[in-house]
Subunit: 532 residues, 2 copies
């Protein structure tokens, strides 16, 4: 745990718990682990991982996160409820599961709206307070840091302010480090948030946090309003994922705090990773990154030509509210330029390929990337394909370990309900013509196996490589008629993992391209010389 | 002009001018006319149509809008700049074009940031003030209502507050009805907007408006902050379209004003049309409506968590910040493995399937959903597959319009780089055995066509149905060895759209299942009786 901004302000991420409530998101344990790593890289202070005990997936996540992730910045947080009515906290199975998760921090959710206590929880207002006190005290006695989410706080405050405040005080007095006021239904506006947070802070003395939902389109502003009023803990989700409209978006919240308030809430240099992290998380949840997201969208610093363009030439600051590089984004002039010269040069440096001062070469690569991205390729999620492209331009010809003559895949559904998947590839390697056929659990798998069967004798290094992830997306055609398929493949060789991209008029053809790149890159990595 | 809220508050729409700056939007004159009709139906007070004289499209729009649209609520607004430096307003061609547009209202844009006057406009601060005064006075003398946009007002105010205020006063004194403070770069936060609007209002006495861009994710809140501070004119765009991140979104702004502030800013009943109008405008500009847009997104009132669902059964107001019907939207229950009995019952009700008090039946459905979701299915994104499952459980047997004996798909990559995709299906329908073969642009497309070729004679209703979206996801297997493929298909029939899911050991098999469900559901929708 180093380079952590001090504990006086908490950036608390709940993508894995509340963000997963978004319609269309369905995370596997592996997805959750990947996202946790990205969030930790980004430097949030707390990562709420789920509700251990509520479902087997979340229980498994906590076990694996503890074993597999060496957190650099973040503390792992387990989410759960206060004890049931009429049960001792230490006897409550759900509370026990929170402890058993091993998470050093626990966020408890409690009702603070009198009507919810009576209608949804079906207990008395007094028992609800006892449930808060007992559960907080029990978890504290077990050595855990405890935060308490007051669900529906703002609606509850409107209905019965004294009771809502009693819940805050009960948690605070029992040892909860932060009490989070939640706008669960998301109906609040900044002025209301400001007034309530100020009053509750003055009346209870508790350290307060804010959890805002975006139903009025004001979640970011509501979060900042709470900070203005004295809250020192913000709960957000990456890209604003969350139920209904979503949660307060982590990225514009931390950007406002760092760039507009001048308050350091992330480790040094983290903000410059924001655009990359935002897009990487979108890829994991398999949602197209919003092009118009503040700070990190590809359009966020894009200017249409004309009035603005000429002024930007004089001074970019005239037409930008912040320098896009501070959030890892780039200014774009439309129509043109996705990957600028500077980023290509930087990327080359990163890959150890010296592009020197060859302006013509860099210009050619920029053109090539633009042209390919227009056709549907995406290199930000396919580093290995990008490196192959870069090397091809630098070396003047592709590095090819084999040449494909043709291939064929057949999928057959039999009357008994089983499937046969068979593929044949015809290729050339080191002057030899190879024809190989294989079966697989699907057509892409069959192609993959046929390729390996054909090549493994010549390139034994292929035996160490394994396809570990595979994603398909249908892209809308530029002219709205024909659609294009994009496939992203991740391959691993025990030492590391790389991603490649293929684009084509159908899923098999696009997959084939991605596989072709995957093995070409794998052999390059393995130090094989294609000319031998 | 009837049923208009009084002139004391202006809802001013600039979708057709500033909204059209969004990357990816390219409006024809016909598009602009259609959007103007929708906005007028919705009941905004002002529709800014473009910059007549700046391009032929905008000039034509004004001519045709005057001739073709009988505005019920809105006044048409022409946008343009103050006169050039050193020219009389009456001699300025651009100013003349504004008058010739015939628009009853003209919005002039003027610089209010000293640095922009000097660097971009290349004139003196004094001449800029004269340009404002002369142009406003000239247009007023020609009988037009005049509003004045102070471009970069907030940045300008920070740099040189006295000068920024002089521009406001110059416009106000020359007869501009409203002076609009523009956050052109979109970098402001609500607290800053509030403070500046209050001061400028007190110091100049001008009627003020607000124009906010969304670069900090706070455009809606910034607009409301200006209203709180005394602005009585809000400039917005439908769905927040606009340059870079976008403009203040018209819909959450008017919804907040009407539902949260209790201020009537639209004609009676207009708000209930909001969801429809939002989607209709998205169709015209050819952008997929944002599913997560506040108030109007299809997910805006969708509930997923089991915890919430059981409370919603007791009282929907516990988990909704406003009644979705007030904005023309509807509540939806999402079915997922987080859901319990309550959400299944609500979903049944939504689909018009009475599950009555049959606890055993509901329990069986919950189990079935959990078991299927564990296997990789996801019903929250596949309403139609869920309804088929529900009906199967209720009716005790599946509704099948056809029975598949077997199918086969072949993809072949030829040496010349082209692909052949061919599929054959063998099936039974109404006692008849059918064998059909078709080609397609991919294996799934070929299967889809073969299925249609085989069935269209028996079910002519299939001709109206079309596959409109297709998504593939590879899920990690339970034991980390075998992976599972999930396919989501959206199908449309001109009347509506439905989604189905398929899961299998390969992409083709999973696609086949989703297609099978898609057509079964389509035929059910079309009222076909499977037993005939």
């Amino acid at each position: 745990m180093k380079d952590l901004p001090d504990d006086s302000f908490h950036v608390f991420d709940t993508t894995l718990r509340d963000g997963a409530q978004r319609e269309g998101i369905n995370l596997t344990v592996a997805d959750k682990l990947t996202i946790a790593r990205h969030l930790d890289d980004f430097g949030v202070g707390f990562i709420e991982g789920g509700w251990p005990g509520a479902n087997p997936r979340d229980t498994e996540f906590f076990a694996r996160a503890r074993a597999e992730i060496d957190f650099k910045h973040a503390q792992l947080v387990a989410f759960g409820a206060t004890r049931k009515a009429g049960v001792r906290a230490e006897d409550d199975a759900q509370v026990r599961a929170l402890l058993e998760s091993g998470a050093p921090v626990i966020t408890l959710v409690a009702k603070s709206h009198d009507r919810h206590v009576e209608l949804a929880l079906r207990t008395t207002l007094e028992e609800n307070l006892a449930m808060v006190r007992d559960t907080v005290a029990h978890l504290r006695s077990q050595g855990r840091r405890v935060f308490l989410d007051c669900e529906h706080f703002f609606d509850g405050y409107r209905a019965n302010a004294p009771y809502a405040k009693q819940v805050v005080s009960a948690a605070h007095e029992a040892g909860a480090e932060v009490v989070i006021l939640c706008d669960t239904n998301g109906g609040m506006l900044p002025g209301q948030i400001d007034a309530v947070v100020r009053t509750v802070l003055a009346d209870t003395g508790a350290r307060l946090g804010i959890h805002a939902q975006d139903d009025t389109g004001c979640a970011v502003a509501n979060t900042l309003a709470a900070v203005d009023a004295g809250a020192t803990h913000v709960q957000c989700t990456a890209n604003g994922y969350g139920e209904r409209v979503g949660n307060a978006n982590l990225f514009p919240v931390v950007a406002a705090l760092e760039l507009k308030y001048g308050r350091r809430v992330l480790p040094e240099g983290a903000l410059e990773e924001m655009t990359r992290i935002s897009h990487a998380i979108a890829e994991v949840v398999n949602l197209t990154p919003s092009t118009h997201q503040p700070y990190v969208g590809v359009s966020a610093f894009a200017h249409k030509a004309g009035l603005h363009a000429s002024a930007i030439k004089i001074d970019p600051d005239l037409y930008q509210h912040t320098d896009p590089e501070r959030v890892g984004n780039t200014m774009r002039m439309l129509v043109s330029d996705m990957a600028g010269r500077a980023s290509i040069e930087l990327k080359g440096k990163e890959l150890g390929i010296d592009l020197g001062d060859d302006r013509a070469l860099v210009g050619r690569i920029v053109e090539r990337v633009k042209e390919r991205e227009l056709a549907g390729y995406t290199y930000e999620a396919a580093d290995a394909s990008f490196e192959l492209l870069l090397r091809q331009e630098v070396e003047g010809r592709p590095r090819r370990f084999f040449r494909v003559e043709s291939w064929r895949a057949i999928v057959e559904d039999r009357p008994d309900g089983t499937h046969a998947n068979e593929a044949t590839v015809k290729l050339w390697a080191k002057g030899e013509r190879i024809v190989a056929t294989a079966e697989g659990n699907g057509p892409v798998n069959a192609l993959d196996r046929a390729l390996r069967v054909g090549l493994e004798r010549i390139y034994p290094q292929l035996a160490t490589m394994e396809l570990v992830d595979y994603k398909v997306r249908i892209l809308e055609g530029k002219h709205g008629t024909e659609s294009t398929t994009r496939v992203l493949v991740s391959t691993a060789d025990g030492q590391g993992e790389w991603s490649t991209v293929g684009v084509g008029e159908n899923v098999i053809a696009a997959s084939w391209q991605a596989l072709d790149d995957a093995y070409a890159y794998g052999l390059l990595r393995a130090g094989v010389d294609p000319r031998e």
